[in-house]
């Protein structure tokens, strides 16, 4: 009656596992407060997308007319052969992600929330943002060694950039079948930065290095500089890596609106309601895309393990480069701030602040750490653009 018997008959242990995973993400979001704005919609999306016969949610009609209750990983090719999304979320997914719109709109909101002041005040932090991209390439090689194709390895490696929208954007272009896994890994591990980074940092620094004192004040940045910054960054990145322009242009445009002083209403909306709406759709749609049929295989599950490796290598890359910079810099910088180059704004900066104070109670590294933190976002976007260009997409 009402399909109850049929739905229960179609319910498998794989569905049960997915419901448990969805429940776990909701638990982590609510109870541990790990990225709740993303993990709660993701978790609920996983539950909704993994109920059998839920054609109206994530349904897809195959070219031969068969109905699926989930979006198959090869959906882009199947659409070209006559398949079509028939669920309300699968339709949003087709346009929002297939056309790469939602991650870019997310970047618009993030730009409005970002303060580039610390980076403008001390531009050498750009180099720490670049060094932390080492994690992207280390995880890339690990993925290749484990048998992933080069486009798949790029999508996995970019998790090390700790930048959710860039990960989703790049994966949708290079290997859409992995999108659910890379997105879940990126957002889950971003929330786990306070657990992943400290042991890596402690492994490669001494307490004396972590205690290096840095004056908490950075120079005052004028409003003119703040207005010029998003404009010249967009032009330079657009000229050097045109494939990264959609990411950088939206990020910088959002930021420009927040610093002009005359578009406050626009930037306020972008940073609040607009970002919230996009976040809901991003989490809900990507969660519903993670189906039992395409997820419970060793290949995709390896993405999660490689994601941790990517984060760890990115942290190590930033810290080691900061130590190298200290060979030539005077006064020396605290190598902890290199760890903030993994983006994950502002969690990694907070980790640096906490560890810095544990080593030297006079240290207040937060403003310094915000510099590499936002430079890392630009670095990850450049890395994504380079991948897209090099692979000819």
């Amino acid at each position: 009656m009402f399909g109850i018997g049929t739905a229960l008959a179609s319910f498998t242990w794989q569905h049960l596992i997915m419901l448990l995973i969805g429940g776990l993400l909701i638990y982590l979001g609510i109870s541990r407060k790990w990225e709740p704005f993303i993990l709660v919609p993701l978790g609920f999306g996983i539950i909704v997308g993994n109920l059998p016969l839920g054609y109206g949610v994530m349904g897809f009609q195959m070219p031969d007319g068969t109905l699926l209750s989930y979006l198959p990983p090869q959906w882009t090719e199947l659409i070209q052969q006559g398949g079509k999304p028939v669920g309300f979320l699968s339709r949003i997914f087709q346009y929002g992600f297939g056309w790469e719109i939602i991650p870019l709109l997310m970047f618009l909101g993030l730009g409005a929330m970002t303060d580039f002041g610390p980076l403008i005040a001390r531009p050498i932090y750009f180099l720490l943002g670049a060094a932390a991209q080492f994690g992207v390439y280390a995880a890339f090689f690990l993925a290749i060694a484990l048998g992933f194709t080069i486009p798949e390895a790029c999508s996995i490696g970019i998790i090390g950039g700790a930048d959710g929208p860039t990960t989703v954007y790049l994966t949708q272009i290079l290997s859409p079948h992995l999108m659910g896994f890379t997105a879940v890994a990126a957002y889950t591990y971003m929330a786990m930065v306070p657990l992943i980074q400290p042991p890596v940092i402690k492994l490669i620094t001494t307490k004396k290095e972590r205690a290096i004192y840095m004056t908490p004040q950075l120079r005052t940045v004028s409003n003119r500089e703040k207005i010029a910054f998003p404009i010249y960054v967009t032009i330079i990145v657009g000229l050097l890596v045109p494939a990264a322009l959609p990411l950088i242009a939206t990020f910088m445009f959002g930021n420009l609106l927040s610093v002009t002083g005359v578009t406050t209403r626009l930037s306020n909306t972008l940073a609040t309601a607009f970002t919230d709406v996009i976040t809901v759709f991003l989490g809900f749609c990507v969660g519903a895309y993670v189906s039992a049929a395409s997820c419970l295989h060793p290949g995709p599950l390896l993405v999660f393990a490689l994601g941790v490796a990517a984060f760890a290598f990115a942290t190590a890359g930033g810290v080691i480069f900061a130590k190298l910079l200290n060979l030539v810099l005077q006064p020396k910088i605290n190598p902890l701030i290199g760890a903030a180059g993994v983006s994950a704004v502002p969690m990694s900066a907070r980790v640096v602040q906490r560890m810095g104070q544990q080593a030297n109670s006079r240290n207040f590294l937060l403003m310094h750490a915000m510099g590499p933190n936002v430079a890392g976002v630009i670095g990850t976007a450049a890395a994504a653009g380079a991948f897209i260009t090099l692979l000819g997409y």
Partner: protein, 57 residues
């Protein structure tokens, strides 16, 4: 998943990481230069502190 093409992978990673460094080094240098120009500009625009008027004093 398929057999790895290590030469192609090395090219993608090597050139990619190089591009990231070139972009961020360029941004570092441009920001450094513009920062100095803006700071000088602000300094020049700041009104000179008023000198005490000897006659009135």
């Amino acid at each position: 998943m398929m057999t790895a093409d290590w030469a192609e992978a090395a090219r993608v990673a090597g050139v990619g990481f190089g591009v990231v460094f070139i972009v961020l080094i360029t941004l570092w240098l441009v920001s450094l230069g513009l920062g100095k120009i803006f700071q000088r500009w602000e300094k020049e625009e700041k009104p000179e502190p008023e000198k005490p008027d000897n006659k009135q004093a």
